[in-house]
Amino acid sequence: MNIRIKNLLKWLPVLAVCFFFSCKEEHLEPNLPPGGTPEPLVYIRALIDNDSVNFAGGLNSYIGATAVFDTLTHRTFNFSLKNPQQPAQSFFQISINSYKDSLGIAQNDLDSTLYIGTRQYQQANHPFATLSATLTWTDSSGFVFSSSNVPQSNLFSITHVQDVVFDSKNYKKAVVEFKCLIASVHDTLHVTNGKAVILFSVN
């Protein structure tokens, strides 16, 4: 018995050496879904009556949100950038009408709607205009200013469109530029040098 124990103990150092090299070293490596960027991805910035406004998703608790508004026959794709924790803070919303007057498969409608080009601004007292855009600004007092309330002499421009997948969801990223008038029941504002990176999705 003693000899057996001794023989067993003889090989313990060999086992220890094997153990020595068999330990796997781990590291803390936080992972996030691919598709994100190290800097804020979505933003809207513009000059509103010579006041610079700049909102970005992820800064100052501003969050971008995508939505699809459907009526019986019309579909509109929306992107808003606001702080849900502070409803009193001002925020932007950009809407683009679907490419057709009927409801189709949402993803197909989105794919057919977003492409590079210039768009007219939707007018509030006009019928639904396909592919038209609407810029809405809500100030900190809660007054809503919209491009649909004022006749526009400029166009809304989509300069870049890209498909993006994040967290297993499909998005359309669009780079847009705009210059327009926005009006509420009380006032009209000039929006110039407007540029935004916005996302649309049907999820």
Binding site: N2, K6, L9, K10, W11, L12, P13, V14, A16, V17, F19, F20, F21, C23, K24, E25, E26, H27, L28, E29, P30, N31, L32, P33, G35, G36, T37, P38, E39, P40, L41, V42, G57, G58, L59, Y62, I63, G64, A65, T66, F166, D167, L199
Partner: protein, 460 residues
């Protein structure tokens, strides 16, 4: 194409010929130097790991493949006076009426000293009295005999066989009682490997008769002795059987003339060490410690030992956090936190021993410690697109960032011999380098620390 400026190259050469590169290190040199230093550190670490692995394997191999001293220390029961050696055609066997191998041995009582017997199985005539000692008579050439270095010893009242080879046996009769008035004659037969035959040997055709007087060394013939040497790897161990009285059992005493060069010790003990937490409060902890040590000793008081000890140490509060964030519609965050609570550590002490007294030994040495792995609690929190998920795992292993995997220390100690098998040892160890990367763990003392190790040692 016409060359408008044929000497254009020479113009530039002349202009820049006086230009000398700055000898001071600019940022690129510094960066390059730092990168090279990191590479050197990695190479040094690998080199150290390689050497320690090499020495560990080497010591293990030495221990395994060095001839064992115990193999040579055979218990040999040798015949008391009188001795009778009998020979069969292929077997020498001592003759006795109670011999367990009657097929190869004739009874000495029956055959006596019948030297003229033609039977090849005739026993060697026993010398039943000391007066017959001093002569070995052989029927064959005993020089061809190969004596195997093992002997089967039966009890004192039965036959004891000295195995010469599978075909040769030396058998001893029941010891003869030589009664003196108040003393018992000591029959001592010693087989020495040096084995130069001093006994008179008489050869005859049929039998060998070897009779040794009381207290006389019976030696094999030189050739047979050489065979012993070959079979025992020059081991000079001797075996002595003393019969103090006929009624006593045979006592075998092993006399080893060798000093054990390498001993093998098993360590089991505790490790007392200090840990600190983020609150900068120190805490004493005790962890188990187990391991092996090979000690090389010489005839003087000194010895040197190389060991490998494993310790599973708890009581740590090493918290490490890593976070990552990116942006999509909003800021997405992922945070991982590991709180290391236990360390698996290996120690490789190289110790110099000095025996100041038969039971008291002091030691001093250097020790390398290696971090094998860690145990801890792991927490991960993710916030993606406004959805928060959290997960926790217990007993995660392998997170060692911020802890220096290799450290060096010096130690002094004391060892007390409790018995032939057990020792008790304790030593104080002082680290020579920081245990952790500076400022990696908030509030953790990174300076070298002391520890006390105490062992019970089992010697093999």
């Amino acid at each position: 194409m016409e060359k408008k400026h044929p000497d254009l190259d020479n113009i530039f050469r002349k202009e820049i010929s006086d230009y000398e590169l700055s000898k001071t290190k600019d940022n690129w040199d510094l960066l390059n130097h730092l990168l090279n230093e990191q590479d050197r550190k990695k190479k040094n670490r690998k080199l150290i790991l390689f050497f320690f692995s090499f020495f560990t394997i080497l010591s293990t191999g030495l221990f395994i493949f060095l001839p064992s001293k115990q193999n040579a220390e055979k218990e040999i029961a040798l015949p008391a006076n009188p001795t009778t050696i009998t020979k069969s055609p292929s077997v020498f066997h001592s003759s006795e009426s109670e011999a367990p191998q009657p097929a190869i041995a004739n009874q000495p009582q029956e055959n006596g000293n019948e030297k003229g017997s033609e039977n090849n199985s005739q026993p060697i005539s026993p010398s039943t009295t000391p007066s017959h000692s001093g002569a070995i008579e052989t029927k064959q050439n005993v020089h061809t005999a190969i004596i195997k270095h093992s002997t089967i010893a039966n009890n004192s009242n039965t036959v004891k066989h000295l195995s010469i080879n599978p075909e040769i046996y030396l058998t001893q009769e029941t010891p003869t009682v030589i009664q003196d008035s108040n003393k018992t004659i000591l029959s001592e037969t010693q087989m020495s490997k040096s084995g130069v035959s001093d006994l008179p040997i008489t050869e005859s055709n049929d039998l060998i008769s070897a009779t040794a007087p009381t207290n006389e060394i019976v030696n094999q013939n030189p050739i047979a002795s050489d065979s012993i040497n070959a079979n025992t790897n020059n081991d000079s161990s001797t075996a002595v059987v003393r019969q103090y009285s006929p009624g006593d059992s045979i006592t075998n005493e092993k006399h080893s003339t060798h000093f054990k060069l390498i001993t093998f010790n098993f360590y089991a003990g505790i490790n007392i060490y200090t840990t600190s937490s983020a609150a900068r409060s120190k805490q004493e902890n005790i962890s188990p410690l187990i391991g092996l040590e090979f000690v090389h000793s010489n005839a003087s008081h000194f010895g040197i030992g190389l060991g490998g000890l494993y310790s599973f140490q708890g009581g740590y509060h090493l918290s490490d956090t890593a976070s990552n964030k990116n942006y999509f519609l909003e800021e997405n965050t992922s945070q991982q936190t590991i709180q290391i609570r236990q360390l698996h550590k290996l120690y490789f002490p190289l110790t110099l021993y000095y025996a100041i007294a038969p039971k008291h030994t002091v030691s001093a040495g250097a020790q390398l410690s290696y971090l094998l792995s860690t145990n801890g609690y792991y927490t991960e929190t993710n916030k993606v697109s406004g959805v928060i998920t959290e997960s926790t795992k217990n007993n995660v292993t392998g997170y060692m960032d911020g802890i220096k995997s290799i450290n060096y220390s010096v130690s002094v100690g004391y060892k007390y011999s409790l018995s032939k098998t057990f020792d008790w040892s304790t030593r104080i160890t002082r680290e020579l380098a920081d245990s952790y990367t500076k400022d990696y763990f908030y509030g953790i003392n990174t300076r070298p620390s002391f520890s006390i190790q105490s062992f019970l040692i089992i010697k093999f």
